[in-house]
Amino acid sequence: MADNGDDDSQYRIKEGDFIVLKRGDIFKAMQIQPRKKVIFEKQWFFLDNAVGHLYSTTFEIVSGGTLQPQKLKDTESSSDAKEAGTDNRNIVDDGKSQKLTRDDIETLKEQGLNGQEIIQQLIENSSTFRDKTEYAQDKYIKKKKKKYENTVTILRPSCRILAMMYHGREPGKICHLRYDTLAQMLTLANIHAGSKVLVFETCAGLVLGSIMERMGGYGSVIQMYPGSGPVRAGVESFGFPAHFQDMLHEFPICHVNALLAGTLDTTAKDPSADKKHSNMAEEEEQNQPEAEQQGSPEEQSLETNTSDDKGQDQEEKEKDKRKEAKAQERKVKLEEKRKKLAAAATLLEGRNADGLVIASRFHPCPVLMGLLKFLSPSRPFVVYSQYKEPLIECYTKLKEHGGTVNLRLTDTWLRHYQVLPNRTHPLLLISGGGGYLLSGTTVAMDRSKPAGSQRAEEPAPKRLKLTDTEG
């Protein structure tokens, strides 16, 4: 089972691949496209040269924006001159310790010196560097490296990297869902290959993609979406193989009531169309979108403007043809959409899903109460919310309603550490909050007893005791 030395092809960067750029702790996801200028961390470059190299290679950005794989020589610069002070009693901040001026540094850059060489110049021209303690020297170099080193590492995307990237770059887009909270969700919902999972998210597709990664293309995921269509930008960034699409289904949340009531007619051509349309003859239904398009004001004005010209008549015909092709295309698309809706509805109708994950900007309570009905008994569910209060409401509702056990309202607290010889401590800055989770397990609803008689887990309010003693 050992690695085959020649079998590198699957680890090499290819054109069209979805990748993640990394510099320090900064990530950026993108696709490798030929001759496309990329801007990352105030630097611009082209990714063409990266094609064919192995993933996780670090590249140096050289003039003209080309990438050159970095040679393996990293920590030598700091180890050559091992001269250091013991304390800072004689170091005075006179603003004159650096002999190089801003302009000098710019000239060095123009001469084409790389980051490492510029840092070496800065060290040599710093009158206080030798007096600094060893630790302060390290810190100085690290700081300068961050500023002058122009390298970028190309990584293969993963749930870990994308979750960290979104949290760092665009927390607003993912409802401030921190990566450790996402990790808890995937585990608490027991996401694994072969199950049938319901997802309702407005986290740019990050949660959906993470679930798909954990399922490895086995089983099915039904994305319940609000509005006109599901958002999946984040899913694309994962760069899944094509067959992962086969497990992905979608269902508009606006049809949940109809589905639960058994009144959803999946023969309707457009899921957003009115239900009365579904009763129309099929022929009529198919013609409708076409008619609509022809009747659009732009088309009409174009027609009246060009009707006289003979040369443009030809064009007109071509336009008609294109229009027809477009309409045909649209028909096919609608038919596909109808089939997809029907397929998702069939999956849901069994009411035997294996898990439910909710992470959205909507109030979680109605979403949870609605979607929980599609789960088999003894299956986990997890709801994310940026705020605690709506989850308290969910908890109370579930207790009243019954049909769940093992309810827990939690959040996680994350702390990173700097671990260095004699300088180990927690990082100074930590994330203030990564959101809250409500998790639990479904159970069969008790039909013999009314819902209100469920054993309450919440102890009676303390006040009762107080008034007793007071009296």
Binding site: D3, T187, T410, D411, V443
Partner: protein
């Protein structure tokens, strides 16, 4: 039933989780003719469990009732018989994501301990991955192998009874990820590297003490590991409560005296009849685990 695949009905030979109430669970091996004692009375497997749907309510002999749940690694973690300290779900979730585990991953683990993390790994890497787990304590190694069989995941795991610090993981060049939960992880970093794929992978070490972390980080850096990062993750549970806050009595309000008529009609507000405000809120538990261990992650670059 299997820990990597759901089924709907309880069958003879299954391992089911009995949910007794608030954070109280017990695992049972379902066997025809067997009985299990609970604080709500006895459960007779043949009639009460076998053939029942997972998630259904089971009435015990004393009239009390419990729920029978399908096993998951998370339920197993809170109900398994402890033979060692175990890892809990909060750390396990972080480890799983940070090690980038997914279906098909090849993972090395040591020590196996009570198998809390092992079950979670197996769930995630099934159906095409494999776990190579090393436990130097013979009895524990045998016991956990037996459990894997009972839980129908033994085709996904190889248990080796050896010392990981001296003999390594028993495989070379195959692992996508390595997890270490041993007293001296720095002694196993070299073996971890050897077990991993040539093109690289992820490693994690769990240690309760900062001195262990320090030595592990040095060893990782020495062996050429990159992206070394140490973190700690704690769970906060919020108990949902209805609380009521009494409102103090400020005495008669003189400004209200402008309407003497209404004052006459108002019922007396003094005495034991305090006004209060009721609200739903959460309270933290009185005590919470304040530290489990530091998690150190690193990436092995291509060699």
């Amino acid at each position: 039933m299997s820990f990597v695949e759901y089924s709907d009905f309880v069958q003879d030979g299954d391992v089911a989780i009995i949910y007794l109430g608030h954070e109280s669970t017990m695992p049972v091996k379902v066997q025809k003719g067997a009985q299990t004692q609970t604080r709500y009375g006895v459960i007779r497997h043949s009639t009460d469990l076998i053939g029942q749907r997972y998630g259904s309510k089971v009435t015990c002999s004393k009239g009390g009732w419990v729920h029978v749940l399908h096993p998951t690694p998370e339920l197993w973690t809170v109900s398994l018989p402890h033979r060692t300290q175990i890892l809990y779900t909060t750390d396990i979730a972080t480890i799983t994501m940070m090690l980038e585990l997914k279906p098909g991953s090849i993972v090395c683990e040591s020590g196996t301990g009570s198998g809390s993390l092992s079950h979670a790994i197996l769930r995630t890497i099934a159906p095409t991955g494999h776990l190579h787990t090393v436990e130097f304590h013979q009895q524990r190694a045998e016991k956990v192998a037996e459990e894997f069989k009972e839980h129908r995941v033994d085709h996904l795991v190889t248990v080796r009874n050896q010392d990981v610090c001296k003999e390594g993981f028993g495989v070379t060049g195959v692992a996508d990820a390595v997890f270490l939960d041993i007293p001296s992880p720095w002694e196993a970093v070299g073996h971890a590297k050897a077990a991993m794929k040539k093109h690289g992978g992820r490693v994690c070490s769990f240690s309760p003490c900062i001195e262990q972390v320090q030595r592990t980080c040095e060893a990782l850096a020495d062996k050429g590991f990159k992206e070394i990062s140490t973190m700690e993750i704690l769970l906060r549970v919020h108990d949902v409560r209805t609380v009521s806050l009494s409102l103090p009595d400020f005495g008669p309000d003189p400004s209200a005296q402008t309407q003497p008529d209404t004052r006459e009609d108002a019922p007396p507000t003094s005495g034991p009849n305090h006004a209060s405000l009721t609200l739903k809120t959460t309270t933290p538990p009185r005590e919470i685990p304040g530290h489990t261990g530091y998690l150190t992650f690193a990436t092995k670059p291509r060699t």
